[in-house]
Structures are given as structure tokens and as C-alpha cells.
Subunit: 485 residues, 2 copies
């Protein structure tokens, strides 16, 4: 861990920068199981904070947690045609257990619509049983050919909400409410700006009537789907026979939704805010918000430690997540270490500072150093963490995104030229806002020729496009296209 070499610069090789950063910040390790990673404590703690923030919002909106079996009988997947087609190629199967061959193979869940649909069919009899608003925190499996830590692994951690409603209207409202919860959480806590919108049919969740997503831009200009919310209509209700007796004495199928966010969010956090010094964590999510480091000659340390401890206690009492680094290493080495780990704010205190009744605050986001009177430390730290740094990170991410969002490209040709030119300049190609006629063929053509895929049809696009980027027919939708993780 004490390797002094820095990380590969982002501009040189973004993927290597990412791997270097997460390894040096000790967030994960590779495992001997194909495509599976270990979430080390510093990485897992980010997930714990993401869990806490989402879980609170889910409970505030009336959802409760439950836990369903991880193993799903093969026959369950057969019941919803699109669902089995979508997931079958990626499933790991248990075929033996307790020393015997199983009569029916059991899949390791890739998502739980089927097993939960089965249970709901038994729990829901009457309109009085509705809505059912359940969330599950769980591990899921998708046997990926190419894996990338946090973003694409054979096992990952997530939450999956599954709700059942009496009416389409209510289910659609739930779908939108959860999308909005994702947006709010990711923007306000992770400081990541996202576009909310609808997925095109080709990018829909297997079995959904409509899929909505939040999409974020990483610092290499690629897109990352950071959360999805699906209106499933009556597809799973019919496949699993989830019917209820309504007030009008008619038996009806329920309308269901599902929505999920995963440990991918850790990857997004890193790729949106990180820089060539390593991680940059937004204060609201950072496990350590303030690192305190004594500076100056060690023999004068005794004069420093009194005020040092008082600052530490003041911040701690105020609920700030503060840590003191008193190890026998040079201040410079420690500065590097905690910058690399993304701590939002550093406090330096040396003998001269003590004489002058002041300390130095160093911001991770801007590199700025501020000299602050000791009796103003708490309020300065609070205002930096709560508003300035958190907001600045969000603003910088918006700026980056907008700088790399191309509204001026009109055709597939434009896009191809732009990609070539960006590549030549060694710059991210970013995203293209494009008109789209709505045909699968035009969408597929963009992907074939550029590897750009439709991200979503934003609810509030920066402008409306008139012509399909491929065929030139009049556009039915304005769509974000980008390369995606």
C-alpha cells in the first residue's frame, strides 16, 4: 500500500487511471473467482453510506425491506418470455446440492421479479392487500464475459424494489417516484448530475413495458446508467397469476414495478469526481470528511497537540467525521495519502499556527489553502463541507458534462467526424443529443458504426431535435447517444 508511485494520469489512459486509483485507495481486490471482486473495507464503507441514504428515502416513501431466496427454479424463468431471453445467457446454475443431483436446476438470481412474482401471487388476494411496497438488499449474479471492478462483475450488490398496485396510474406514479428518488440521491449526496429519461425499446429491461433511467457522464465522456425504474405493466402479473378482487368485485391483474441501484454507484462516484491525485469524495458521502495532520518539527509537537486535540474534539462533537493522522510519516507523505483517498478537507496545524491562533485548511476539490482563526474552524469547516465543496463538486461535474454534451451535431456523419476529431485531439468524444425517428434500425446503425448507444430520451432535453440522425426523417424523440459502461 505504501507504494510511492502515483496513479496513471487520466489523460493518458482512463481505464488504467481508474484501476490504479481504486487499488491505491484500497477499495477492492481481485478474487480467485472469475469476474468476482472483494469489496475491501474502504470500498464497502462507500456502499454502506449509499445504502443508508437510499434506505432512508425508501422507508420515508412507505417501502419496507424483505428477503427472498437467492436460488430461482429454472421453470420460473420460462414464465415470462422476454425475461428468460434477456437473462438466460448470463445465469450461473446450481445443479448439485447435499451430494445429489437436483431434479430442477436452480439459477443464482440475476434479479428477483420471478421469485417475488410467485410470492406476490400468494400474498395478494384483495384490493385491501395493495399496494405491496417491498425492497430487497441482496447479492445478484450475471456471468459477464468482460468484467470491470464495481461496474461489471459476475456478482454484485444492489437493492431491488418490487411493488404491486391496483391501477396502472398508481404503478406509473411509483415508477416515477423511485426514479426521482434516485435522481435526488445521486445529485444531492453523490454530487453527480444525471439526465432522467426513458430508455428506448432496445435498451429496456427484459420484461418491462417501459424502463426509465438516470444517466451520468464519466470523466472519459462515457455514460453510466446509475439507476433504473421499470413499469412492468401486467407482464409479470400475468406470468405469475397475481390477481386481486377489486372493490367492484372483479378479479384483475395487478400492475407491478421494479427499480434498482447497485454497487456501480461506487464506480460512478470515482469516475465523475476523481483526478490525477486519486479519489475525490463529496463531503456528504465521504467516510472521512476531515483529516487532521500536525505539521512542523516533531520536537515542537507537544506545543501543537493541545490545540490540535481541541479542534478534533470540537469537530467530532459537531458530528463531523474527522480523523487524526499521527503516524510517524512526513506531513507531505500523509498529504498525498489522504488526497489519494479523496478526503474532502485537510487541517494542518503547526507550532507557528498555534502562535498565531490559526490553522490551515486545504480543500481537496480545488487545492486551495485557507488560513483560519482557531475560533472560526468549526463554522468554516461546516460551511465548506455542507455547501461549498459539495456544491462545487456538483457544479464542476455539470460543467464537465455540459462541455462534453454536443448539441450541434445533427447527423451520424457529424458524429463520426466528431469522434475521429476528438480521438485525434486525445479528448473525450462525450455525448451527442440527437433526433431519432424511433426505428430500431436507425438506432442499431448508430451502434454499429460508432459504438454509441442510446442512453435515454431525456424528459427535459436541452433542446428538441427535428430530424433523425440516421435517416433524416422527422424525429419522434430527442435522445442522448454515448458510449456506455
Amino acid at each position: 500500500m505504501h507504494d510511492e508511485k502515483g496513479v496513471t494520469p487520466q489523460s493518458e489512459d482512463f481505464s488504467r487511471w481508474y484501476i490504479d486509483t481504486i487499488r491505491k485507495a484500497d477499495l477492492m481486490d481481485y478474487s480467485p473467482v472469475r469476474g468476482c471482486i472483494v469489496f475491501k473495507p474502504d470500498g464497502y464503507e462507500l456502499w454502506e453510506r449509499i445504502q443508508a441514504g437510499l434506505d432512508k428515502r425508501f422507508k420515508e416513501t412507505g417501502h419496507r425491506n424483505a428477503y427472498f431466496p437467492m436460488l430461482v427454479p429454472e421453470s420460473f424463468f420460462q414464465k415470462e418470455k422476454d425475461h428468460v431471453e434477456g437473462f438466460n445467457p448470463e445465469l450461473p446454475w446450481v445443479t448439485e446440492a447435499g451430494g445429489e443431483q437436483l431434479e430442477e436446476r436452480l439459477a443464482l438470481r440475476p434479479t428477483s421479479e420471478t421469485i417475488i412474482g410467485h410470492m406476490y401471487s400468494q400474498w395478494i388476494q384483495s384490493y385491501r392487500d395493495l399496494p405491496v411496497l417491498i425492497n430487497q438488499w441482496a447479492n445478484v449474479f450475471r456471468w459477464e464475459k468482460r468484467t470491470f471492478p464495481f461496474l461489471r462483475t459476475s456478482e454484485f450488490l444492489w437493492q431491488e424494489g418490487h411493488t404491486a398496485h391496483a391501477t396502472e396510474e398508481e404503478a406509473r406514479r411509483e415508477t416515477m417516484q423511485m426514479l426521482e428518488i434516485y435522481r435526488d440521491f445521486v445529485e444531492s449526496e453523490l454530487a453527480i448530475p444525471v439526465w432522467t429519461g426513458e430508455k428506448t425499446p432496445s435498451e429496456r429491461f427484459a420484461g418491462a413495458v417501459q424502463t426509465y433511467s438516470i444517466e451520468a457522464m464519466m470523466k472519459d465522456g462515457k455514460a453510466l446508467q446509475a439507476g433504473t425504474s421499470h413499469y412492468l405493466g401486467q407482464n409479470f402479473a400475468k406470468a405469475f397469476d397475481i390477481q386481486f378482487l377489486d372493490r367492484d368485485n372483479q378479479r384483475k391483474y395487478v400492475h407491478t414495478t421494479s427499480w434498482g441501484a447497485s454497487t456501480r454507484l461506487i464506480g460512478a462516484l470515482i469516475m465523475v469526481h476523481g483526478d490525477d491525485q486519486g479519489l475525490v469524495l463529496p463531503p456528504r458521502l465521504a467516510p472521512v470528511q476531515v483529516i487532521m495532520i500536525p505539521v512542523g518539527p516533531p520536537k515542537k509537537r507537544k506545543d501543537v497537540m493541545g490545540p490540535f486535540d481541541r479542534i478534533f474534539e470540537t469537530l467530532k462533537q459537531a458530528g463531523i467525521r474527522v480523523k487524526a493522522d499521527l503516524r510517524d510519516e512526513s506531513p507531505g507523505w500523509k498529504f498525498n495519502e489522504w488526497e489519494m483517498r479523496g478526503v474532502p478537507l485537510r487541517i494542518e496545524l503547526g507550532p507557528r499556527d498555534v502562535e498565531n491562533n490559526q490553522c490551515v485548511l486545504a480543500r481537496r476539490d480545488t487545492g486551495e489553502k485557507l488560513t483560519v482563526p482557531l475560533d472560526k474552524v468549526l463554522e468554516t469547516v461546516q460551511s465548506l463541507l455542507d455547501t461549498e465543496i459539495q456544491k462545487n463538486l456538483f457544479r464542476m461535474a455539470v460543467d464537465f458534462r455540459d462541455r462534453h454534451s454536443h448539441l450541434d451535431l445533427e447527423t451520424l456523419d457529424d458524429l463520426q467526424q466528431h469522434i475521429a476529431a476528438s480521438s485525434e485531439r486525445g479528448e473525450p468524444a462525450g455525448w451527442m443529443l440527437a433526433g431519432w425517428c424511433g426505428s430500431d434500425a436507425c438506432e442499431a446503425k448508430v451502434k454499429e458504426e460508432t459504438k454509441f448507444t442510446s442512453r435515454n430520451i431525456p424528459f427535459h432535453p436541452p433542446e428538441e431535435k427535428k430530424r433523425c440522425l440516421v435517416c433524416g426523417d422527422s424525429a419522434r424523440h430527442t435522445v442522448w447517444f454515448a458510449r456506455a459502461y
Copy 2:
């Protein structure tokens, strides 16, 4: 759910009482996957509270959470001889994934010593890397032939701590510290008295040098192992080559520990406190601590609701988990419902109460009703929840346990006669405190003849026994014997 029939009385059939109770209280459901249950929201919420209480204690003692892959390559199990023998018969295996046969089978973890041992061998190089103090919250699998909800299922939820230390002494101290954390948590939050002690060799965790446990008595007199802490010595360190360079420049194997508690604790909670009306939850763990129910004629409801809402708000503001039941059902029906769900305290408020500036508190643990002036409700509720009810439940459980702990039986013969006599009287046989010579044969004989197994060798037995209950030789240990879940 609105079936009016009560639960089977405990005295008639304890297992049926248990199943009736957890079904009527809506804690779980059976699933279509063999031996796997669904943790429904009311059951899962108990687990969330257990998690929160344990997680806090783990973190306060310097442990951090991480997450390791669920799939464990077959070869890993082969590395520790006792471990593979212990767990092999119960493993489910993934043999196919992503449309291909795997070259090596992958087990669904029954516990994670092997995969974590492998990772630790890479993370630990120097004494500076020690201790490693990691915990994992996870699902685990043991393909059980006979299953029983919460107590024995093919998939269950648990935490497993895995630590590595430079010295035996430190590892042993950790083993004891975690056992003590379990004892403290289970006694103070779940109000379940336990015996802490060491397991006999035949009951040790597969691969451990020594296993310690906390053992609790259920209301049918059977024992339930409610948490275990293992000193693993250097067994896993040698199997997985976890070595470090010590201060003296020698390469040494680390000493490891592991410790776990699981969703079994939900079962223990129910079987220790429940009664013929259903669940009884200790206030510190109860998801709902106070249920408020308006009583009296519905047409006078408007006079009641003002004070009713004020009490509700006062309790809520004070951090009490209070819920109001305003459904259109009779008060009596609601009383039953919430008694069955184990809510510790009920508040009834009717028009006459309002006239007299009072309300009625009904305790779930004793059935007592108290009339309390409205301006004393908060302090009365707080004192009932925080001390009286919580302590009374613990005291009642201690009383029950001590009444069914038999210190006066000396021989296997005595035990057999006692079991026969108890069975005739329709009473729990309870536990026997016995001397034991230390031989496997004598221990095995007790099991063969009575189905009683050694629970643990308590650190502080109520008395020391002199003679082995089977061979009559002088006793090396004083042991609790009991039938166990």
C-alpha cells in the same frame, strides 16, 4: 391474515405453536425453493434491528465491514481437512454458468474462512498489517435435510467476523471479546439469558482449535446456540499460507478467529418470550414499541382524537416507536392483533378517559392495565419500556431457565428417568448440569440414549460436578446437556 383462530397453545404442541405464531405475525413464508424461506417485512425488520445492534458493537471495537465473493472454488475446501469434512455434505454447487460447464465446481459459501483466508494471505505481509479485523454481512447456504423456519434453512442470513493476529494471546482475547459482545447484546437487547462457555471437541466448528458459544433455553426446554466464536489457531493460516514478517524479522503464521450470529436469533427471540397469545417482543428490539388504539363509541371519536394525537406526537417526539391503529375494526379485534404481534405496550383512550384526563396502558408481558394521568404518559411509557418491561422479560426468562435447569441429576440413569417423568407430566425436560470425564464415548452415549447433547462447558457453572454422568469417573468438566435446535 385476518383469520380469527388463535395459535396452538404451547403446552399442546410447541412446534405448531411456533409455526402458527410466526405465520400469524406475518414474519415469514415458505418458498418454492427447498428449505428456503421468505423473510417478510415484519420478520426482516427484526433482523434489521439485530444487525444494527451488533454492527454498532463490532464497529465500536474496531471492526470494519467488507464483502467477499459468495462462490468458493472446490479446491479451497480441500485445503483444510477438518473443514471440508464438516461442510462438504451440505454444499450446493454451481457447475454451469453463462452457458458453459465450469472447469472447477464452485460452492455456495457455507461460511467464508477459505476464501477470506486466501485473500488474507495476500493482504498480510508484515506485523504492520496486523491485526486485520473484518466482518461480513451475507447470505450463506447449508443444504439441510430437515428445515425449520429461522432456525435451520438451506439459505440464511448472518454475519461472520474474520480476524488475523500476530499472537495467539491477542487472537484468544479477540475470540473472548466477541463472545462477550454476543452475550451482552443478546442479554441486554433481546432479553435472553445465555450461558457462555466452551464447546466440547465433538461440537467444535470444523477447523477450529476451540469453539465458544452462547446457549439459550427455549420455552420447550430445548437449547439454542445463539452465537459462536472460534479460536482457529494457525489451522487456516497454514492451509492458506497466511504469513507475516514479525518485528524480530521472523516469518510467522498468523492466528485467526471467526465468529458468527445469524437469523436464528429471530427464532430464539420468539421461542424465549412468546406465549399463547403470540409474539412478545422486548421493547429495545420491538419495531413498534407502543400501539395506540382509540376506544369507546365511534360517534364520540371526535372528542378523543385531539388528546389522542397529542399523546402520539409527544411519544414520537421523544423517539418512541409508536403507531396508531385507526382502522375500522373493533378495539377487541385490534387488541388481539397487536398482542399477537408482540407489541410491548398498548395505549387505550376513550371519551371517558378524556373526561378524566387519563388513559389506559396495557402491558404485553404481564397483561396488567394501568390508568395513568395524561400528563404522566410520557414518563410512564419511558420507564415501562426502558426498564420495567425489558427487565421483566429478562427476569421471566431467567426464572424459566433456572426452573428447568436440573442440577440435582447425577447420572445418565437419573437423566433418563427425569426425561420419562417430564414427558409423562407433559413438561419440558429442560437441561441437565452434568459432570463429564472428557471422553467422546461417554458424550456420544448420552446422545444415543437420550438425544441430549453437550451444549457447552459454562465458564461459570452454578456448581461444579464431581463425577462423569456416564462412567462415574472423576469429572474433568461440568457441562450443560440438553436437546438442541
